[in-house]
Symmetry: C2
Subunit: 446 residues, 2 copies
């Protein structure tokens, strides 16, 4: 089969779950015991070049099977598509998936079905970048502005951003791109770390990890808050004492509060100079975030990891509800929708500091921020990508952090591919880890 006539031949899916709840890694005020998981897929072709597209939705355990079922519901849309055409224009697939009227009813453009679309679309971009022999950030940064605009669905956002404005932003964004590419390859993209701040960690562990973070070159850390105010005061004091006055400390409530409560609680922590308050309330509450922002200024308001699509982001920007936009690579409809979100952020002049952590989110999102730096916003000022040092060992090309920066990936693709062994071990419930775990549990209870 020649590459020219190659087609997608299969969409393989995997329910992969890591037992992270056992160490309280990832514990916060809303998520006390996550088992970080991925509803994972592999696109296979008959091109004969050995290249596959890998993608996934991130979940935290139960329901990962529902997420896998949603990806499988998209299979008939993708098997049989010509690979050349698909990789040259993932936007058409993106529109076809979002536009399937029967599946659309289950959203529209939100929750399980939308994350499934994101996983499939991201797998296509992984394949496209591998075929182009470029890391995704570079494929996007070198992309023609008109082509990039063609990849964006302007439905429901054209009142805030027209295709013409997007084209203009991308054309202007290219100036100086070569210098920025060189700078990116030399220094990387600034990161911050959440590793010290999980709610389940002791104060000693918090202090130790916070000091290590500073020693490793991070200039911002993040603490989970929102379960108990007195605990939060103590933990913020501990963290501030550990890192000194010059390191930014972000705080993150993971949607724990109502609007009034968010304002009061955040103000009660103001003496520790928090840089931003993240997810103070429901990600759906645009007007609520606007009220919180008014109430806690000059502390910044950040949200995005659970913002379902470009339409909510548009309104958060229109309403002046956020200071920091935290897009997520695997929550919305994939690279195409994230292009829309980056363009909206650029139009409104709001810095993007992506959500990461989980399973493979660091691997994915670095590409989006690096594209933005090289070819759109043109700056890393007040921009940092979240970094959490968990589960990277399962990826074929894991993120590399150097002196508090993400090193620019150079391997072709979207950095989305997991090791065969990891998939075999952590597939649920029949992978070797879970099968053994079930056997042990049965032996203990017997």
């Amino acid at each position: 089969m020649s590459a020219k006539t190659a087609r997608i031949t299969a969409v393989e899916t995997y329910d992969i779950r890591f037992p992270t709840s056992r160490e309280l890694d990832g514990s916060d005020a809303m998520n006390p015991d996550p088992d970080y998981s991925a509803a994972y897929l592999v696109l296979r072709t008959d091109a004969g070049d050995g290249l596959e597209g890998h993608g996934f939705a991130f979940t935290i355990g139960r329901g990962n099977d529902v997420q896998v079922a949603a990806i499988e519901a998209l299979r008939e849309h993708i098997v049989g598509r010509p690979v050349d055409q698909l990789c040259a224009d993932p936007g058409t697939l993106n529109r076809d998936l979002i536009g399937d009227s029967q599946l659309r009813w289950l959203g529209p453009e939100k929750g399980v079905m939308h994350m499934a679309i994101g996983a499939v679309v991201n797998a296509v971009w992984d394949l496209a970048a591998k075929r182009a022999r470029k890391p995704l950030w570079q494929l996007l940064a070198e992309g023609d502005p008109a082509w990039l605009v063609s990849q964006v669905d302007f439905r429901y956002i054209a009142d805030a951003l027209t295709p013409e404005e997007a084209l203009d932003l991308l054309r202007r964004g290219r100036a100086g791109g070569e210098e920025r590419t060189a700078a990116l390859l030399e220094r990387g993209y600034p990161a911050y770390t959440t590793s010290p701040g999980w709610l389940g960690y002791s104060d000693d562990k918090l202090t130790r990890l916070a000091r290590e973070a500073v020693a490793e070159g991070f200039t911002q850390i993040k603490l989970k808050v929102g379960a108990d105010l007195q605990d939060d005061i103590r933990r913020c004091r501990t963290a501030r004492a550990a890192v000194g006055p010059d390191i930014r400390i972000a705080i993150d409530a993971n949607q724990r509060w109502n609007v009034d409560e968010a304002v009061e609680w955040t103000r009660a922590l103001a003496e520790f100079d928090p840089y931003w308050i993240e997810e103070p309330t429901s990600p759906d509450d645009i007007l609520g975030h606007a009220a919180v922002r008014k109430g806690v200024a000059p502390i910044k308001v950040a949200t995005g990891e659970h913002v379902q699509n470009r339409i909510i982001f548009k309104q958060l920007l229109q309403a002046g509800a956020i200071d920091v936009l935290q897009l997520d690579a695997a929550r919305v409809g994939g690279v195409n929708e994230n292009l829309a979100i980056l363009l909206l952020a650029a139009k409104f002049g709001v810095p993007v500091c992506p959500h990461a952590g989980g399973v493979g989110l660091c691997e994915l999102v670095q590409h989006l921020s690096m594209f933005d730096y090289v070819a759109l916003s043109g700056t890393t000022e007040n921009r940092v990508i979240e970094f959490v040092d968990h589960l990277h060992e399962h990826f074929v090309t894991p993120t590399v952090i150097q002196d508090g920066h993400y090193a620019a990936p150079t391997a072709p693709g979207f950095s989305a591919q997991m090791h065969h062994d990891s998939i075999a071990t952590y597939s649920y419930p029949h992978g070797t880890f879970w099968a053994a775990d079930t056997a042990t549990t049965k032996a203990v209870t017997a």
Copy 2:
């Protein structure tokens, strides 16, 4: 097993699909070929009284299996619960389901997982009403205001409606309830009909059905619009000619437009005196609806069938974005969240005209409006429940329409129960209808 110690013993699920696309029933500008479907569940108990709880999520075909998988992911939360406690306080189950942090990640409170919660919670209310030997509307209307308030989750809405305000609304709402119950039992609750207005119908069929609707006592009909402006102008003219000047004609774009387009298109139809424009744009776009409302006044703006939860409804009300709130019985987290939405609407003085049609939505939603009339808003002024005359024959206690009104159900329960035969025939893909259909298709293509 005595009723006192009875527990939930099973959650049975069914993927039920009706081949409605073959007649273009239900066709609109976004949904050209829906196969009306239900992800259906039955709660069984060991009470020995023969009573079951029935509930469902409504979908339009593909993906109904994903919706069923989501309901199954909730099974472990409900099997084993004591029936007495569950039926006396469905709010606790509601909070437990919404609060499962791992499943919450898949939303939160939106899309497939949230509709699954709604289906399960509604099944519990069906069981509760059957055990109380009352139709659900009556169980709610006779409920103590403090108990009703205890059934509402005020998280993320307390900035717009406090529990104290809700209690006050419910206490005041009771005055005159007996008279309204008598009136309801005598006259029913006003309905409007969408049956004439599907996009796939010819002008002759539109004219005939519109005239029939008026003859049957309806004072409002609805037309689907948004695919082609010239067609819409012709169809609106046809409909207005058929029904005369005194019948309200609502128009419904099913989210087809961007904000500017919604304003222009609606204005272009203004000469036919449309009563409301429904779903002019994305259900997520609160600020967009506010802009449309400003742009098309005095034509009213309506939305809700795809509004994902109470948090978006709260903002639509806060932003003055809608004139008519169209709650849906099976989109949000069930009766409990719809109590919150009815209370928000009452607080803001916006009339509720529920979305119905589909599979069993008329059967469910009538109970919510009747409760609202008897015990909350106390009025049917400018309030109508949608009626579509499809698929009622599959329900054990189907809606009864008399002189353009929904007759008040008197059978115990939530009217959610389908006939065994319907389930057996339309279960997908192995029910007798689909199995025969597949066999025919194979024979034709062979």
